[in-house]
């Protein structure tokens, strides 16, 4: 029997239409929920020292760590969030306490902290950032510089309730 529902053409068309509508839903499920929370990066928490003090700048400065802090879902900027920063720099390695410092995000959810120049260590010029204050879920980031000659590095946090 070959009615309208059992021809090869309709079968292919129906399957095709189903795949076309269902697949994006499977691949991009976060879209419906707005801005997705930032997951922690591999190795992000390496050499983390809890409770880094809020500082004017780390060491002698000369390099800028910048970024934003937003809320998951609506993407609203989060002010006053404490971001901890550490890296292997010209003034110390990641395990040295003086390589660690923290800063707060401003009213626009932006933060910037001056620190010594980051130098390549363990194969990549990279920095570490942590949000670990309890109000939102803890996030550890490990951004890598495009070039070791860069004098700034940027990282964005999207936090979700703990």
């Amino acid at each position: 029997m070959t009615d309208a529902f059992t021809t090869r053409r309709t079968l292919l068309a129906t399957t095709g239409a189903f795949v076309a509508t269902a697949l994006p839903g499977l691949i991009l499920p976060a879209r419906a929920q707005g801005v997705a929370a930032t997951p922690s990066m591999r190795g992000g928490s390496n050499n983390y020292l809890p409770g880094a003090p809020i500082v004017e700048r780390i060491g002698g400065g000369g390099f800028w760590m910048t970024g934003t802090v937003r809320r998951a879902g609506d993407g609203a900027p989060l002010a006053g969030q404490r971001i901890q920063i550490w890296a292997h720099t010209t003034e110390g390695n990641e395990r040295d306490p003086w390589s660690h410092g923290a800063t707060l995000s401003d009213a626009n959810g932006e933060f910037r902290l001056e620190m010594p120049q980051i130098v390549p260590a363990f194969g990549q010029p990279h920095g570490h950032l942590a949000y670990d204050s309890g109000d939102f879920r803890t996030v550890f980031l490990r951004p890598v510089m495009g070039s070791a000659r860069d004098t700034s590095l940027h990282a964005d946090f999207v936090l979700e309730p703990a």
Binding site: M41, R42, G43, G44, S45, N46, N47, H88, T89, T90, N93, E94, R95, V119, P120, A121, F122, G123, Q124, P125, R142, A148
Partner: protein, 208 residues
């Protein structure tokens, strides 16, 4: 008279080329500006890695008896001692990195590192250790199996180490590093893919 002169010149040239391929990257790494911001354990760890890389170029040449003055049994004896030194260099490399940043080394050993080159280095490390165990058990193995397994592990070691080194932004200068890596690959494949089994003949000829 002229022939011996020629041979001597060729021997000198061969050694000079190999020495250049090894000592130039080593010297450049030893004077890298990055060292200014590294502690002693980290510096030693890095240099141990460069030395290990240099040994990977020497090992196939020793096995072949290709280097003048190190043919036959003498070449193989040096090959064995260099193998032991390679194991030591790898241990110093990993231990020094561990002292510098334990979590990064633990991540690497567990294949959970964010850096892609770590896994290649760890694979090469295990292949080096496996080769040492294999060499210790060599007399209990059939020669054909010994050669097959040793060659397979040597290829894994060379490939793993080369990818590991090339992906790293570290103390090695990029051009001399690339040249050393290319030579390691060429020398390893030269021995591994040798249908005439020159390493085996090197053994047979000298009756060892």
């Amino acid at each position: 008279m002229i022939i011996t002169e020629k041979l001597r010149l060729r021997a000198g040239l061969a050694w000079a080329l190999v020495a250049l391929a090894i000592l130039l990257p080593l010297a450049l790494a030893a004077t890298s500006p990055l060292l200014a911001w590294r502690g002693p354990a980290y510096i030693i760890a890095g240099l141990a890695g460069v030395v290990a890389m240099a040994m990977l170029l020497l090992q196939p040449l020793f096995a072949l008896g290709w280097l003048p003055g190190l043919a036959g049994r003498r070449g193989r004896r040096v090959h064995r001692w260099t193998g032991a030194a390679l194991v030591t260099a790898v241990i110093i490399h990993v231990a020094g990195l561990w002292l510098t940043s334990p979590p990064d080394v633990i991540d690497a050993l567990l294949f959970a590192s964010p850096t892609p080159f770590s896994a290649w280095g760890v694979i090469a490390m295990w292949a080096v250790f496996a080769t040492a165990v294999l060499a210790a058990l060599r007399r209990r193995l059939r020669p054909r199996w010994w050669r097959r397994l040793h060659t397979a592990l040597a290829v894994v070691i060379a490939a793993g180490s080369v990818v590991h080194a090339l992906l790293i932004e570290g103390t090695m200068e990029t051009v001399s590093k690339a040249v050393l890596c290319a030579l390691v690959v060429a020398a390893t494949l030269w021995v591994a893919a040798d249908p005439g089994d020159r390493a085996g003949r090197n053994r047979a000829q000298s009756g060892g």
